[in-house]
Each structure stands twice: as C-alpha cells, then as structure tokens.
C-alpha cells in the first residue's frame, strides 16, 4: 500500500508523517509519534480507551484514519498537563482514586474533559451518559464519576477523612495513590505500549475449529511476503509441555487443535500489519475430529477424548470429606437438593496480554511483560527452555488489569522468546481483543448439585456438593479453582458434616484459568441461592436463616479454615439493614425485590499440592537523604496494593510521610523471590514483609543513631523523618544524618537496607480428607441489592447495592472501597450479562460489543460498609480484599429477582430471555396479559 505524506497537528506540534492510507490515528499517534498515552484496547471503536480530541470534540482515534486527521487539531492526554501542572480533570482523577490499573484513564479523562467543555455542571446521570462509551474493568465507575463531579466543582476535591479517623499517622487513611500521577497523564508504562529498538512483531494464526487434526500446513506464501522474517510451527518451539497443574499445553498446536483459538502457526515480521498479512497467507488444512462441548457429556463412557489417556476426560477429582455425612443427613428433618449452572466469564482486562522478549548476545532473555507474577512465569519458562533462572529476567511494568488471567505462561510468551532467540532481535507479541476473549482463559463454567440437610428449626446438619468444572481444552488452574471452592464452600456456615466432589473435565471449549474469586463466585452462587430456597421451604426469612447458621470468630470450619476473625454475621446484619430488608420484604411491590447473599474468600493460600509455601518479599532501603526506596516483589495490576498500601505501611513503620517512600515493583532480577499478585494477598503478605524489613532497618538506624545521640537503642523511636530519644524527643537526628553517618565513615560503613520474606501461616489440605487451614486468613462479605425487573422483557436493573465487607482493618479506606466497587461491577456483569457464548465450541461473542461488561449506566451507586475485625495475622489487622468484592454479588441479584418476580433462576447470567422464561413458568394462566 503506497504511503501518503501528511502533516498531523498534535497538541499544537506539527508532525510530518508517512502513513499507509488505512493507518488509524491511534496507531499513528502510538507507533509513529510515540504518544502511547492514547491506548488501544479493542481497535474496534468499542471501548474509548483511544479517545482523543479532534478539533475539540472527543472521538475514538482507532476509528479515525490518520489521513483524515491531517489538517485538523488533535489533542491527546499528553497535551493536557502544562509545565508539570495537571489539568483539573487529571488532578481530580488522581486525588479521588479514579485510576486503578490506569488503562482506561487517558480515554476517560479526554472524554470527561470534552463533556465538561460543553456541559460545565453536569448532573451525575449526565456524567454517566457522557462516559457510557468508556469501558473500565477496574473501578465500577464510582470513583470516576466522583472525580468528574469534583472537577466540575460539584463534589469535594478530596476524600473526606473526617468520618473515618485513623488511629495511625499514615495507615488507615485514604491517601491518594502513589501511582496516580503517572496514570492520569498517560505516562505510566505498560508492556502493550512499549517498543524497543529493532523490535519485530509476532502474530499467531489461530484455529477456526474446536477439534481437528492439522493435515497440512503450507507457510511458503507467508514466508515470501516482504517484511515477514520467520514463520514457526510447534516443531520450531520447545517440546516441553507446560501448565500450572497438568503439563498439557504447548506453545502452538502439537498436530491437533483442541479449541477455537488455539495457536497453529506464528509469523514474525517487521511490523504488526505485515505479521497479520503473514498469518492470513498461511494455508492450513484440517481434518475435523469429533468434539465434546458439554462437560457432563464429556464424562460419559465413549465420549470423544480431548486428550489421549484421560479417562472420561476427567483430569482432576478434588474431594473434601469431613464429618459424618450419613449421620448428618439422617439427623435432618428435610434434605433439599438443587442444581445450578454458571456462565463463562471473561477477564476482559483493558490491556491485552503483551510481551516483549529480548534475547541478548550473552544468552540472557529479558522480558517486559504484563504479568501478575514474575516468579511463576520465570519458573515455568525456565522449565520450558531449560534455562538458568538468572538468564531469564522478567520485568513487569504496570498492568492494565489482570484479575488472574496474567498469572501463568501464555503461548505468546514462549513464541516470542523462541523467536527472539532465533532472530537475535526483540520480539513483541500481544493479544488482539478477540484473542483476549478466546485464548486467554475464562472463569470456569460449572454445574453444581448441592444438597443440604436441615432441621425444622433451620439448623444445618449436613451439606454435600457435586461440581463439574468445564475445564476447556487445557488444564491451567482448574484443579486449584476446584480445591479453593471446596475449602471455602465449608467455611461460611457452621456445617457439622460436609462433602465436596469436584470434577475438572476437559472439553473442546476455550479454557478456564485463574479469575478473581478463584472458584468462590461459582460455588457461592449455588450455595446462596440454595440457602434462600431452603429458608423459603422452611418458611423462614432468608436473613434469619443465615444468622442462625453463619460461622463465628473462633470457629474452625468443617473444611479446615481457622476463622480467627470472622465478621460475616455482622456483614449480613449491616447489609440487610442498609437495604431496608425488613420493610421491603414485608411490603412487596410488583417487579421490585431485594436479595442478599454472603460469602467468604481467602487471603492467598496453598492450593497446589506441590507448592507448600505462600510468601511475599519486600526490600527497604533508606537513602542518604532520608528518602526511602521500597522494593516489592508483587506487581501493580491496578488495586494499588503493591504501590500504595505497602508504601503506607512502610511510611508508618519508619515514621516518614508517604511521599518519602518510592516503590519499585516486580523485577525478577533485582527483587527477592515473591509469588506475585493474585489471591488478595499483596496488602497482607507483602505488608507483613514490609513490616519485617522495616523492623530490621529500624534496628540498623537505631544502632547508628544510638552512637550519635549517645543513647541506648531501646530508648530510641522514629517519627517525623527523625530518630529521637523517646523520653527527650528534641534529642534527635534526621534520617539523612543517620544514613550518611552509616554510609560515609572511615571503613566500617554499612548500608541501611534490609529485605524480608513473609511466609503465610497456613497449610496444605490433608491429601486424604481434603481438610486444611489452607490460607492465612479469611475475608467475608454480604451483598444486598434491590432490583427492578421489567416483567415484559425480563430485563433486570439494579437500583440499590450495599456491600458489607470484613477484610480486617483497612489500610487505605478509599482504596478498599475501590476494590469493592470494581468487584461489584464484575459481580453484576457475572450475574446479569457476561457470558462467552460457545456453540459447539465456536465462540459467538468475542468482542466488547457482544461480550458485554457493565458500563457506567448499568452500575448503581455502591454503598460500602465495613466490619473491621482486626485480624491477628495481618499487618495492622488487615485481611485480603480484592476478590471478596464480587463473591456474593450474583446470588444476591438472583435472590432479589426471585423476590421481585417469584421466578427462581438456577443459571447465570440472568439474561432477560432467561428471566422472562422464568416468569412464564411461574405466571398463573389468569395472570397472562390478554
């Protein structure tokens, strides 16, 4: 395609560029001008992460041709801040926690700015309408709406801390995120946006069939395309299979494709467009094989085999056997059994998976990648490539969301490394939006049969569950998901006898992996709908039934968890009260209802039979000017845990301001080993490591300051950036002076620096019974919602939402609230609309327009309430939080829909069509409209 010469006026600067006529403005800005503050999360006009101003109006730059933008004024996020001063919208986003992962932020800021230019005092509803095209996967939009209202002068510019005073100086306060400025300016680095000199691009040709043998593969035409550097198939790749639990994956298909979207061949080329042309030119022939798409069918004798030698396609069977089940059911007055089915939710991170592999002449490969765990990935890649650990360096910049999907090896990583090794150049690979949907893991769909024995008075006597996980074509974290739900499934209520059987079953569907909640949302949907159904059958109020049976602090749950702190009872009480439970349940209104559900989630935990460890690490260094460098092994995927919560703990411990602490995260070479960011673990596990490292640093400082102040170390304390004598605070030394005196001395100098390893106190479940206290602590929560159901269409609208959460004490209340709000959004999506629809293995909705996540308009305001239980194991009494926010959402909605309509739905998402069918089933004939 002949290039055209154009002039682009961007942020007031004229640029001469040579572009193909089909080049989008987004690509020209990002790749030709290096202005990567403009994001490109879908490239199809469906997310507005690429929003810029064109002659003052906001447009999606992926849907503008660069040639069309010539001679028009383009303003990007980089054009807003002047001389280091943020634009008021950026400032409000930074101060009010509106940027989590930050990947939607530039587009959001540009959109908000355009909105305020035409409507300086919008109502909240107008703000939501105005940003309805901007997808955000992290925030639930609450803090974004707050920030826009604040920027328009209609809401407070800072989080009000009056209502929630903290006992501490830094911890417990809603201090703005330390990474906010980078994110609101579009300067934060993400792997997807990075470029290295001489970099090549790789693309993968993916299977259009769910199960087939590759009978011929002709790459010659592709190889002949100018600019195509190499074409690879599995024979060019490492042959060692990989996978977190079962090693069943290869980088590219091993002769057979097992799901739609599996990699068949890879093309490496000088640029993205050429690589895409390359994969189109590959000629593949397939011989279709019989597939199996329903996990129950897959378990039948004689079903098609997804992998050889896996009997009835069952790759794992997880079990918990606790208490005398037979006696428990025998003691019951009633035994109720119900079946539930859950959907295939996708992570839908705004930033797709991305990697740049750079193999250098010394034999070391450096990876810049969007990963939650540099440690897990390095461990896995070492095995695949047979390389020494110190020859693989993984650097994770900021992540544009992860939610579990970025915690294992993906084929693009292996292909990029191999290609870089072969070609001696950096190779970048990333998923397009449809690859992100089809080939980057999902939440496992499950079929759950749950059975509970109860006495007439409502006391639970026994519970058993039989669960089938649709694993998809490869195993990933399947058995871990099952194990986690098996343990948590026994922890919410006092259950005298419990049995769990979970079957992880191969199918020719896209495959499941780790996803925020890790098995808990599926099981909780079943258990909490079942709970309401039992209460009704017994003629009891669902809240009353729960309160009668809920676990309490000090309990050891039947499945093993030691519930040293447990606020679920208070959570249910608070949520019920806040939603107006009693009054609304006793005054039913047609088409309106309230529902409640509660649940539990773990703080990290041991869920892999061969990994008897659960740790985080931190390093603390005090510099010669008294500033503090904090090294965190975890990655910052958006929660703020790695960059802000840990920094607050560090600042508290060392008696400095938060601004004095600078955080470096996740570089496998320079930071101690750390499992990374997943399992709601960073604030607590890394937080404890920070405390330990700070304690060591304090000792070092005291030793030196003791000399200077002629005091014993046990007489010293820290605060205000100083070390001082506790009884005479004016006898003090600035940290700078202490550090300088330690570093600059005639011999005998020492660093003021320490690192710490925090190993969570928990244990692997017993291999026989499956019982164990498998996590450091357990967080609880209850969600109560009020819904309005359109009884003619089945459409459900959420009008009120209360989330009461026990995550121990809060390290940063606003940050905690952001997690709950973002969790609620994913929970609402899970309950109402999100489902990757597969028909005979074909994915029908791999786009943001057809796989629907909530926008600002679907989100009600979220009212967060807290039950601070002060957990003894966590730093400052904190427990994990990030996942809890979505665990009980879907069943609360389903229960509310039942209350509103009398239709009990056993399957999520509650699509309008399913709700309407449910309504049809319960409507008495005379109730039908004429």
């Amino acid at each position: 395609m002949a290039k055209q010469h154009i002039q682009l006026d961007v942020n007031g600067i004229p640029y001469d560029v040579l572009v193909e006529p089909d080049r989008s403005l987004a690509d020209a800005l990002r790749d030709d001008l290096g202005l990567t503050g403009t994001k490109r999360a879908c490239n199809e006009g469906e997310c507005a992460s690429c929003a810029v101003h064109l002659d003052g109006t906001v447009v999606n730059s992926c849907l503008v041709l660069a040639v069309q933008a010539a001679r028009h004024r383009v303003t990007t996020i980089e054009g807003l801040a002047r001389n280091g001063k943020l634009d008021p919208v950026q400032q409000a986003f930074a101060d009010l926690f509106a940027a989590q992962c930050g990947y939607c932020t530039p587009g959001m800021v540009m959109t908000a700015k355009a909105l305020l230019a035409t409507n300086p005092k919008p109502s909240e509803q107008e703000v939501r309408q105005g940003i309805r095209g901007n997808l955000c996967r992290c925030t639930g939009y609450a803090k974004i709406v707050d920030a826009i209202m604040a920027a328009s002068g209609q809401a407070p510019p800072r989080v009000d801390e009056v209502e929630r005073p903290s006992k501490h100086r830094v911890v417990g306060r809603s201090l703005p995120r330390t990474d906010a400025r980078e994110k609101v300016t579009g300067r934060a680095a993400y792997a997807y946006d990075m470029r290295l000199p001489g970099m090549l691009y790789g693309e993968i040709l993916r299977s259009p069939l769910p199960h087939a043998r590759i009978t011929s593969l002709d790459t010659s035409v592709a190889e002949a395309i100018p600019g195509v550097v190499a074409v690879y198939t599995q024979k060019d790749m490492p042959q060692t299979k990989f996978g977190a639990f079962v090693q069943d994956e290869t980088a590219l298909a091993d002769g057979v494709v097992r799901y739609v979207g599996e990699g068949v061949a890879a093309v490496i080329a000088v640029d993205e467009q050429t690589a895409l042309r390359g994969i189109e030119a590959i000629d593949v022939e397939f011989e279709p094989l019989p597939g199996v798409f329903d996990p129950e069918e897959a378990m039948r004798e004689g079903a098609a085999q997804v992998h050889p030698d896996v009997e009835r396609n069952i790759v794992a069977h997880n079990r918990v056997l606790a208490g005398d089940l037979e006696a428990g059911f025998a003691a019951a007055d009633h035994v109720f059994e119900d079946r539930f089915v859950t959907g295939r939710q996708c992570h839908a991170c705004l930033e797709p998976h991305a990697v740049i592999a750079d193999h250098d002449a010394s034999g070391r490969v450096t990876l810049h990648m969007s990963t939650q765990s540099t440690f897990f990935d390095r461990f896995s890649l070492m095995g695949i490539f047979g390389m020494a650990a110190n020859k693989i360096r993984i650097i994770a910049p900021y992540l544009g969301g992860g939610f579990g999907s970025k915690s294992e090896t993906h084929s693009i990583y292996v292909v990029a490394i191999q290609a870089s090794m072969n070609l001696g150049r950096p190779v970048k690979m990333f998923h397009s939006r449809d690859e992100e949907f089809m080939a980057s893991r999902t939440r496992h769909p499950e079929i759950i049969d749950i059975k509970t024995g109860v006495r007439q008075d409502g006391t639970i006597t026994a519970r058993s569950a039989r669960v089938i996980l649709d694993n998809g074509a490869y195993t990933s974290y399947g058995p871990g998901v099952s194990l986690t739900q098996s343990m948590l499934g026994g922890a919410v209520y006092r259950i005298p006898a419990y049995r769990y059987d979970g079957y992880t079953v191969y199918t020719n569907n896209p495959f499941g992996g780790a996803f925020r909640g890790f098995g808990s949302p599926q099981f909780t949907f079943a258990a909490e709908c079942h709970t309401d159904m039992i209460a009704e059958r017994l003629g009891m109020d669902p809240v009353e039934f729960r309160l009668k049976n809920l676990s309490r602090a000090g309990d050891r749950a039947i499945s093993g968890p030691a519930l040293d702190s447990c606020g679920v009872y208070e959570c249910v009480e608070k949520a019920a009260e806040a939603i107006g439970w009693r009054e609304k349940r006793s005054n039913p209104k047609a088409g309106r209802g309230v529902g409640i559900a509660c649940g539990v989630h773990f703080t990290s935990g041991k869920f892999h039979p061969h990994v008897n460890a659960d740790f985080c690490a931190a390093g603390v260094k005090v510099n010669e000017d008294g500033s503090v460098s904090l090294m965190i092994g975890a990655t910052e995927m958006g929660t703020g845990a790695a960059t802000t919560a840990t920094a607050q703990i560090c600042a508290e411990e060392l008696g400095v301001e938060l601004g004095a602490v600078d955080v470096v995260t996740s570089d496998s070479e320079t930071i101690p080993a750390d499992f990374g960011t997943y399992g709601s673990r960073v604030t607590t596990l890394a937080g404890n490591a920070v405390r330990d490292a700070c304690a060591q640093v304090r000792e070092q400082l005291f030793r030196v300051a003791g000399e200077g102040l002629a005091a014993k170390t046990d007489e010293l304390a820290m605060g205000d950036g100083k070390v001082f004598v506790r009884s005479e605070p004016e006898r003090s030394m600035d940290l700078a002076a202490v550090v300088q005196s330690s570093l600059f001395r005639d011999r005998d100098g020492r660093q003021i620096m320490a690192q710490a390893h925090y190993d969570a106190p928990c244990s692997l479940p017993d291999p026989e019974t499956g019982v164990g206290d498998f996590a450091m602590s357990y967080s609880f929560g209850a969600h109560a919602v009020e819904v309005e159901v359109d009884e003619e269409t089945g459409q459900v609208r959420i009008v009120d939402f209360v989330a009461a959460t026990d995550c121990g004490n809060l390290i940063n209340p606003a940050l905690a609230e952001s997690q709950v709000e973002g969790g609620a959004a994913q929970g609402i999506g899970y309950g109402l609309m999100e489902d990757l629809v597969c028909e005979n293995g074909m994915v029908l909705n791999p786009r943001f327009s057809t796989y629907k996540i909530p926008t600002a308009l679907e989100m009600p305001p979220i009212r967060s309430l807290w039950v601070e239980t002060n957990d003894a194991r966590g730093p400052y009494g904190a427990k994990g939080l990030a996942e809890m926010g979505l665990v009980p959402t879907a069943p609360a909605i389903a229960n509310a829909v039942y209350d509103a309509t009398g239709a009990r739905l056993h399957r999520i998402p509650l699509t309008p069509e399913r709700v309407l069918a449910g309504l049809d089933a319960v409507r008495r004939p005379e109730g039908v409209r004429s």
């Binding site: 069309q68 959109t111 095209g133």
Partner: protein, 282 residues
Amino acid sequence: MKYLEPSTLEEALDLLDEHGDTAKVIAGGQSLLILLRERLVTPEVLIGLSAIEPLKRLEINGETRIGAMVTHAAVEQDARISERWPVLAVAEAAVSTVQIRNRGTLCGNVAHGFPTADPPAALIACDASVHLVSKRGGQRLVAAEDFFIGLMETAARPDELVTAITLPAQPPQARGAYLKYATRALDFAIVGAACRLVLGSDGAVLEARIGLNGAANHTLRAREAERVLIGERPTPVLLERAGQAAALESSPLSDVDGSEDYKRRIIAVYTRRVLMRALGEG
C-alpha cells in the same frame, strides 16, 4: 489502497464512476473502518467526503435537509430538530456513544443499512427521504421505508452517493416517539421502535407510521401494525393488538442477544410501548 479527498460533489461522483466497485465512500468511518479492518471490504480507493463543504450543511426551512457529512451529534444537538422532529433527535441520542456520534454521520448510518441501527426506524416514522446522486443516473429520491432492503443492503447503487436526507415538516397534530431496547445503552438495538401518529378530532387514528429496527435483516415499516390502528381509537387492547401485529410481520434473527421468539415478544412489547409513549401514556 489510495485515499482521495475530492473537494466538490462532482469530483466525488466522477471518482465513483471511474473506480466503480473498487471504490468505497468514507463519511465518518465508524462502520466502514471496522469492515476494512476485518477485511470484509477491500476497496482500492477510499473516497473521503469531508472536504465537500455543501455536504456538511444541516438546513431547515419547512423541511429539514441533513447533508451527507452531518454527524449524529450535530443532528442530536440541533434545537430545531429536537423541537420539530423529536423522534429523530431521540433516536440520534440513542446511537452508541458520544465518541461515535461525534464522528459518524446520519447519512453514513443510513447508507450502511445496518438492521439494528437507531435512526432508520425514526426516519421511516418521520416519512424521510434519501437523496441519491450518481454521474450516470442523476438524482433520485427514495422514501426511507423503501431504502432498507437487507443486511447492509440498500436501494443505493454502488455508484450512487447519498447526498442528504430530508424530513418533511411533520403534520401539525403528529405525535411521535422512539424507544430502544438494548442490553446496555451503548449497544446496537435489540429492538428499536419509532412511530408517528396523527389523531382525528374524534380521537381515532388518522395516520400511523411505525418503523422497527431489529425486526428483520433490515429496518421495517410495520404496515400491519399500522393497519390495526387506522380508524380506531387507541385503547390498551388496540395497542396490544398493534404490538402483536408488528411481532407477526417481523422476522428477527436469533443471536447472542436473544432467540427469534424472544425478540418477537420484545417487538410486541416495544411497539405497544412506543405507541403509548407517543400518546403520552408511557
């Protein structure tokens, strides 16, 4: 592929004539660029309309004439349109997102012929006409209700340009409404219903125009539903019957948003509701 930007309509028509099937017109690009990216169309020449000044005009004198390069946002925000053709203004505000409305054009939307777009039903209800011009065929006018033929298929020939859409002044007593049913506000419609009713002094329906998006592989005029109404006084039962008639004359497509049966029910409900809204009862 080449990108050309003629500065007059004549030049544009010459180019279309010269390049025939190998050319594609680009207005806002909000639909075309996706087709290009997915290689569903592979033109050799792209003819940009943005330098042709007359196509940017939105003129109102009695009727309204909306030029080919007038964006959704410009139509939606024009106070005269919301006052005199509120059905169209509401349908335009229902289109996707502010980013798309700022760039996409009403004429491009119509030329694209997408069955679940928003404006087409409103245009049928408002009795709009599509102005077509080609070098060989000259000018012609096609009524909106005859313009939409199939999935991304319209009455326009490949060498024809949509130059404008005109909406006549609405009858003095006309009442209209547009209602969209979608999973989320930014989505394409599952069903979009538009209507314009004129009632006689006795309260009976003199004239009815109903347009339905999402009711088939193209936007429909629901003539059977209209027939139910004509000459009758609107009662709940009548409106319900009109809804049922609309559902019967529709043939919606099953997809991830719902089955054909489900959509038929929605068509019945939304047709009734849009009529009620127009009558000030919903």
